[in-house]
């Protein structure tokens, strides 16, 4: 069983490369089309890619600090948050990784997330509401789930994916602004006539659709990671009931986490916006998480 987790980690690292390659091609295509259609051509695409790449790298490298700043978390204290702190130490021992930093968000909605580009820079973050509502064994289940995201390199994968999705959003945003303000070499384009108009329409379609496609891919990746983290978390605690009953407690709570934004929602253990319920089939495409009842059912059958 332990071997299957090791192979999952390898699998995850390989998949990270694949996703990066795919996204690079995707981004280059989008940049090319938008560049052609805005009239600035390849130089625009090149400059935009370099700038977006720099921003992307920065937000990947400092992802832990950025997320923490965005959610207003503070460092947990061994004395004040004894259970949380020691449980994290214990699960780190079980996983054989260095103890991640533990942060607390002062919010009563129960939730948790992990981030950081590798196990050495990992951060586990939990809301005050969750820390007080859970028993020690339930806390172990939640922390083990988060620790599995770190151990399986999910946090890195998701950080990279978030950056790539951000780059696409950035490109299309920039393009729309240029179209709005008229773009360059208007006279050139007017000379081209029909082709110019088609290019602009194509560009707008790309600018609108590509962030959507990128987000759907991101969310699909995120959902699969959750099941895996549940399973490998249980491998650490050897107690599926702990996580199952913690998830149950969280699902009964209807409070919306105010510290979460659309940019950080996929990081959390359960969807922080659970209050909003869509029943349409396509809403499933935009779920960051698999249905919580399904997760509990799988855990209870382990």
């Amino acid at each position: 069983m332990a071997l299957s987790v090791y192979s999952q980690v390898e699998n995850n690292k390989a998949k990270t490369w694949l996703i990066m390659a795919f996204f690079t091609i995707f981004i280059a295509t989008v940049a090319y089309v938008l560049g052609q259609s805005s009239g600035y051509g390849l130089s625009w695409a090149g400059a935009a890619l370099i700038l977006a790449g720099l921003i992307g790298f920065g937000s990947y490298y400092w992802s832990d600090k950025m997320v923490l700043a965005m959610s207003g978390a503070r460092l947990a204290d061994r004395k004040r948050d004894f259970d949380l702190y020691t449980v994290t130490e214990n699960i780190a021992i079980a996983a054989g990784i260095p103890k991640p930093k533990v942060y607390i968000i002062e919010d009563s909605a129960p939730n948790a997330f992990a981030t950081g580009r590798d196990p050495k820079h990992a951060v586990v973050c939990i809301t005050r509401g969750l820390a007080t509502k859970l028993e020690r064994s339930e806390l172990e289940g939640v922390i083990a789930h988060e620790m599995s995201h770190i151990h399986n390199f999910d946090t890195r994968l998701m950080a990279i994916v978030a950056v790539l999705v951000g780059m696409i959003a950035f490109l299309s945003d920039w393009f729309m602004r240029i179209v709005w303000w008229g773009g360059a070499r208007r006279s050139d384009r007017e000379e081209k006539g029909n082709i110019g108009a088609i290019l602009i329409v194509l560009g707008i379609i790309f600018a609108v659709l590509s962030p959507l496609v990128a987000t759907i891919i991101q969310l699909a990746i995120s959902r699969r990671r959750e099941f895996l983290a549940d399973a490998s978390g249980v491998l650490l605690t050897r107690n599926p009931e702990g996580l199952a009953s913690a998830l149950e407690k969280m699902s009964k709570d209807r409070e919306v986490l105010e510290a979460a934004t659309n940019a950080t929602a996929h990081l959390y253990i359960i969807n922080p916006f659970k209050g909003k319920n869509f029943s349409a089939w396509f809403a499933g495409l935009f779920d960051t998480h698999p249905p919580i009842q399904e997760r509990i059912k799988i855990l209870r059958s382990m």
């Binding site: 332990a2 004894f82 020691t86 214990n90 021992i93 054989g96 050897r238």
Partner: protein, 182 residues
């Protein structure tokens, strides 16, 4: 024919080379896991003098129990190797159990903040030992399996690798007995 033998020799050398490095890496993982158990057992032992003196402040007459705990503690510190350490750790656990049972007769002690803190710390240390044990036993299982499967078993002993002991606790031994009775 000569060519064939040469290929065979190279394959065998490559296999032994790979096996040796692989086993060394596994063995190091086992050692690291063991040192984690060691650290936690040491931490457990370090908490005890403080606990004994706190309880003594409220329950002076229970000399026997203090002695048992102190002896168990020093034998844990003196024990070498997984099997002996596990045994000493189990003895310390039962000595502590009777200490906490006695402590229940002293309401003032139960209310003391220092005692509660120590109780929490000891409980946490026990969790830590359990998790370190789990990690260690997984590493041992992996290592022992590697040296016992064919064809590794033909070479492992000659390369100087022998099986490693598991770190077993009371609960597991109890479970084994139950299975036998059934």
């Amino acid at each position: 024919m000569l060519f064939f033998i040469l290929i065979l020799c190279i394959l065998v050398i490559l296999y032994v080379w790979y096996l040796y490095n692989n086993l060394v890496a596994s063995k190091i993982r086992v050692k690291e896991a063991w040192s984690q158990i060691d650290v936690q057992l040491k931490r457990r032992a370090d908490l005890i003098p403080n606990l004994v003196s706190t309880v003594k402040g409220y329950a002076k007459h229970e000399k026997n129990i203090f002695e048992n705990v102190t002896i168990a503690r020093s034998s844990l510190l003196a024990a070498e190797g997984p099997a002996k350490k596990a045994l000493a750790n189990n003895q310390l656990a039962s000595a502590l159990k009777s200490l906490f049972a006695v402590a229940e007769n002293y309401p003032q002690l139960q209310a003391s903040g220092n005692f509660l803190q120590l109780q929490k710390e000891l409980g946490d240390t026990e969790d830590k030992v359990a998790y370190a044990r789990q990690f260690y036993n997984t590493a041992v299982l992996e290592f022992n399996t590697k040296i016992q499967i064919f064809p590794n078993i033909l070479m492992a002993r000659n390369l100087g690798f022998t099986e490693v002991e598991f770190f077993q606790t009371q609960e597991e031994e109890k479970k084994k007995v139950e299975v036998e009775f059934n």
